[in-house]
Point group: C2
Chain length 333, copies 2
């Protein structure tokens, strides 16, 4: 029986926010797998802000997705056929499966995940790229120390929520910036943040002043724009800004942080990070985060929607803020 | 005989570029020195871009100069009276003498300089703050390695010219940005830079592309604005931007670097530096730079003007580019 494979391909490079015509949905027959290959049935796929960057034509840290190619995405799925001795039938794997129901691969870049220990979708969230980004971002890049004040933007999101919780574990004072009362309540009441700034309903500068009366030692930025600019004003001496993302800027011509001279007088730094650089230590981080989840010190929240047909609409939730935690698309078969 | 002391005091905080009314010139009688004090006759004073920041009212790395106070400036002079056993008559000292002909001090912050080894004015230039800034900025902050490409803005200035020469000594490819043919010829022909970009007569982006075909490993920025923004485009992976100054931005509302997301994709950093943080190692740096001057590997150029009455006009040369090398005011007695 020939399997049909629904795939989302890049049809057109968007200017600004992706539109329905950015993508095409195709249904293609799957070929037989060759010697050394595996066939993966994708259960969940990860929706990440970084994906917006991958569909620009410009030079970046990985090659852009080409027009007509299946959209790149992290996935978790089950091996349903295998002609590769390293991968057994029935094993769950995570990797770059792309926005499609099935993936044929030689196994390169896919790694096994233990779905008895954690639910599969968590391996593309808190135990996947967002979790790794948070872990190495706040520890290796942010170099947080006990009693420092950490400000996190996108604090209710997949990365920000884990950043804040790790900083709490390490004894920091943690303030989150998020949009709307629900998210602010969530990060304080559920995640244990010390304070929250609702950028949709409070002046940012007042909010930071109110919460970070002694200034900011580490600002972990997922958002950019006015939020970055406001945070710069409050940097303390030797502060570190971890530049993880700039979701407010991905769909337009970016605005530069006009308060950047605060870096000078405070001997502070902004440094960009790409999680791939830490690949050789993912395993250590995963084991540590799993322990923290088991001990209850980290809460992992996935916001799961269904249906590859809804990819476009669900993807936009990254940019309109209508989600809480890690955004995931479940691929129904 | 009572000595008269001409002093430049801050009369009014400027908006934008300082104006004649920013300052007052007073002539006051000098009191007798007390036990433990010295009287210094100031021969040369240092004119530095940082001075513009010190006359703003805003929070910074040192307290602002207050209205009615003698303007802060680095000086080199001779002790002409001493009631302090640590300072002998006739000794030359450098320190914060301020914009005035004579300084009475308890000696705190003044250190002796050897005018037999180097001319006195060099101790407020290449062997003073600008030299220290260049040395620690390019070595400790820039962390240059052999064969890296280093771009320097303000390349014909007191700091930039030394930065570039040290980077050459360390085996880097060094490109300078300067305003006008004279300065560009100077940094190539006199200082040995590998290339020059005349930002007044060449498109910056073309100029950087032409000179830094493999991108930039270290950008040492004294200027900011469009120059910083253009340099960001060409950062290589793990590039370092040393934020030393932003002379193009000091007299207006600063513009943010809109290409800052280049830091993210290139895992690059911008870090601010203040030379005072390296005070415990000034001596080491001075000795090393002196050696390089003696060996001919570093050329030190002072651009000297005369007369405390001309302070305002000469100070503006920092911002209108009409000087070459370290700007110094000679105080005639």
């Amino acid at each position: 029986m020939t399997l049909l494979n629904k795939q989302i391909k890049l049809a057109k490079r968007p200017e600004g926010l992706p539109k329905p015509e950015t993508w095409t949905l195709e249904e293609n027959s799957l070929r037989e797998i060759n010697e050394g290959e595996i066939l993966i049935k994708n259960y969940f796929l990860s929706l990440d802000p970084a994906m917006r960057g991958w569909i620009n034509s410009s030079r970046s840290y990985i090659p852009p997705v080409q027009i007509g190619e299946v959209m790149r995405a992290g996935t978790v799925g089950e091996i349903i056929k295998s002609k590769n001795k390293s991968f057994e039938l029935g094993t769950f794997v995570s990797g770059w499966g792309g926005v499609q129901e099935f993936t044929i691969s030689d196994g390169l870049g896919f790694y096994k995940v233990d779905v008895k220990k954690s639910p599969p979708e968590r391996y593309i969230g808190t135990l996947g790229m967002p979790g790794m980004t948070a872990y190495f971002g706040i520890l290796d890049e942010g170099k947080i120390k006990k009693d420092e004040t950490v400000l996190v933007s996108g604090a209710a999101g997949a990365v920000g929520s884990i950043v804040g919780q790790i900083a709490k574990i390490k004894g920091c004072k943690v303030i989150g910036i998020a949009g709307g009362k629900n998210k602010c309540d969530y990060i304080i009441n559920e995640l244990g943040f010390d304070g929250a700034i609702d950028y949709k309903n409070e002046n940012l500068i007042n909010g930071i002043k109110r919460n970070c009366s002694n200034g900011i030692d580490v600002f972990f930025d997922n958002v950019g724009g006015e939020i970055l600019d406001s945070a710069l004003i409050f940097l303390r001496k030797n502060a570190r800004v971890v530049l993880c993302g700039a979701i407010s800027q991905y769909n337009k011509n970016p605005i530069g942080p006009k308060n950047y001279l605060s870096l000078l007088v405070n001997r502070a730094s902004i440094k960009g990070m790409i999680v791939f650089d830490y690949a050789d230590r993912y395993k250590i981080a995963m084991e540590q985060i799993e322990k923290w989840i088991v001990s209850g010190e980290i809460k992992s929240k996935e916001d799961i929607y269904e249906g590859i047909e809804n990819f476009h609409e669900i993807f936009l939730k990254l940019f309109n803020g209508k989600k809480l935690g890690k955004l995931i698309l479940k691929i129904i078969k």
